[in-house]
């Protein structure tokens, strides 16, 4: 690691008026060809490059990003991290990720501010309770730390919550203490910094226009900066993955939908865990800067506008105001949208396909930020070995034919 950051480096640079900081990453022109081209400079893409270089010894890699690093969903998500998914396959995948999160700041020597303040899923009716108790039990057998909280325990953790005087009272919650939030942009930057250090080319403002194949074998990519050859192409373009797959003649079972979020004005700390609710649809956490970061639901139609409808914002805010009466006096500072790619079973695809040398990591829908390190890690394994890691074996494309779906709708309806 060349660029070492610490309190000392900060003091040192303070003396030189902060004018001597080194560049975090270079912006080279693309080479003629690479062993692996990763399409998409979000967290998953940059992470994949990092693990390919670090764990699989592949160094001749380019990450190609059409805009700026982390400008996709990595830069616009509500940053909730947890692993308490219902099915074993998911629980293993997401917990692999949480475990990597726990050491990521130190590993990359870049503070991701992973804050394990706990994630709470509220139950508002008998059905919610049943579903959550089942999930807690399954999680426990998978070695996860999800637990049941009764209303009193909830009130102790989140005193500002209105649990009784609302249309659908709060009846309890599933709580995962190891869950939390992280600084989303830092994830992209940290991986970029360290993979670039290991020789990965990071090419921004370069759009992949199509994936070139010959006889079911990948040849490279045509980009806005010309053709680039590649032995392997790994597509991690989130909302745009199915559009790119199409250029290689591959069809993916994905639909791209707007997903919106908003932040309030900053205030002093009032809420110290992440709270999500399905029936009263809203998710809240408070960032270290003080804003409430609030997630809405997906819009009900395909769209690539990064916008979404105002009615969805209204739905969310209604819920927030009801659950937290003090927020009635607060204000929305900014709202925005991302484009999420949704799979029919609400689980991702981390898989090879019928074209040799072409790999997809997609379908994370509304909840892939939490998986960033884990998904990148097993995807790198899949790309390097041309076969899946044990953890992502089930997340293949065949499941949409044989029916072996990993249906996380119940547990993942609030997938953030």
């Amino acid at each position: 690691m060349r660029k070492k950051y610490s309190f000392l480096s900060l003091i040192k640079n303070a003396f030189t008026n902060n004018e001597n900081w080194e560049k975090m990453w270079e912006s080279p022109d693309p080479k003629k060809g690479y062993d692996v081209i990763i399409v998409g400079g979000g967290g998953h893409g940059l992470g994949t490059a990092y693990y390919l270089a670090k764990e699989h010894g592949i160094k001749n890699i380019a990450v190609i990003e059409k805009g700026w690093l982390g400008g996709g969903n990595t830069g616009r998500n509500t940053t909730i991290i947890r692993s308490n998914y219902l099915w074993n396959e998911s629980a293993h995948l997401y917990d692999h990720s949480v475990k990597l999160w726990e050491n990521l700041s130190e590993e990359l020597n870049f503070n991701m501010m992973f804050s394990q303040r706990g994630v709470m899923n509220l139950a508002h009716n008998e059905h919610d309770i049943k579903e959550m108790k089942r999930r807690i039990s399954a999680n426990r057998l998978n070695g996860l730390d999800t637990q049941w909280l009764d209303t009193k325990q909830i009130e102790e953790l989140v005193p500002i919550m209105n649990t009784k005087n609302l249309r659908y009272p709060v009846l309890g919650a599933a709580f995962q203490p190891r869950g939390g939030v992280a600084r989303h942009d830092a994830v992209a930057w940290g991986y970029a910094l360290r993979s670039n250090e290991m020789g990965v080319d990071i090419i921004q403002n370069c759009e992949v226009k199509d994936i070139k194949t010959d006889n079911y074998k990948v040849e490279g990519v045509n980009t806005s900066k010309g053709f680039i050859k590649a032995n392997k192409v790994a597509v991690v373009a989130s909302g745009h993955t199915s559009v790119l797959a199409q250029t290689a003649g591959v069809r993916l079972p994905l639909q791209s939908r707007p997903l919106q979020a908003l932040v309030s004005e900053p205030i002093k700390p009032v809420i110290n865990t992440v709270v999500m609710s399905n029936a009263v649809h809203a998710y809240v956490s408070q960032s270290d800067k003080g804003e409430l970061v609030i997630g809405a639901g997906t819009d009900g139609y395909n769209s690539f506008t990064q916008r979404g409808g105002y009615d969805v914002i209204e739905e969310t805010v209604r819920a927030i105001v009801e659950l937290y009466p003090i927020f009635g006096k607060m204000k929305m500072l900014r709202q925005w949208g991302g484009i999420v790619d949704i799979c029919p079973d609400a689980s991702p695809i981390i898989s090879k396909c019928e074209v040799k040398g072409l790999y997809f990591n997609c379908g994370w829908g509304t909840g892939g930020f939490k998986a960033t390190p884990g998904s990148a890690n097993v995807f790198a394994h899949t790309v390097a070995n041309d076969q899946p890691h044990k953890i992502n074996e089930a997340f293949n494309l065949e499941r949409f034919s044989d029916g072996r779906l990993i249906d996380e709708h119940g547990a993942a309806a609030v997938a953030h």
Partner: protein, 116 residues
């Protein structure tokens, strides 16, 4: 919130409607004759283009009628709305301003504010 012109009720806000995904996907006549893979294609796979998209809507909180639409998913503009018994309009009727499959349209996208 986009406005949708229901062929039966007139213009209403999108929240009165539900989207039914890709249009003109006929249910296979003889499902038993299909392979698992082909059946899976029908059940789980739908086109997801950026740009011109043929899709279905239903006026859930109005007349409850289904209809088809052609919409530019890169700008959310409706290019045409037509009834189920109308013919599928030809793609050449519509102009896409996308420069590349995942590029942004020249105006109306979520991502550019400055004229290039």
């Amino acid at each position: 919130m986009i406005l949708i012109n229901c062929p039966y009720c007139g213009e209403r806000e999108q929240s009165e409607f539900s989207n039914g995904g890709e249009a003109h996907v006929a249910r296979p006549k003889n499902p038993e004759a299909l392979s698992d893979k082909d059946w899976g294609q029908y059940v789980f796979y739908r086109s997801n283009p950026k740009g011109i998209f043929y899709e279905r809507w239903v006026h859930t909180h109005g007349c409850r009628k289904w209809f088809n639409a052609v919409r530019d998913t890169s700008t959310d503009t409706f290019l045409k709305i037509y009834r189920l018994d109308d013919n599928r309009p030809d793609i050449s009727e519509f102009k896409s301003t996308l420069k590349s499959p995942s590029g942004e349209p020249s105006v109306g996208s979520g991502n550019f504010a400055v004229k290039k």
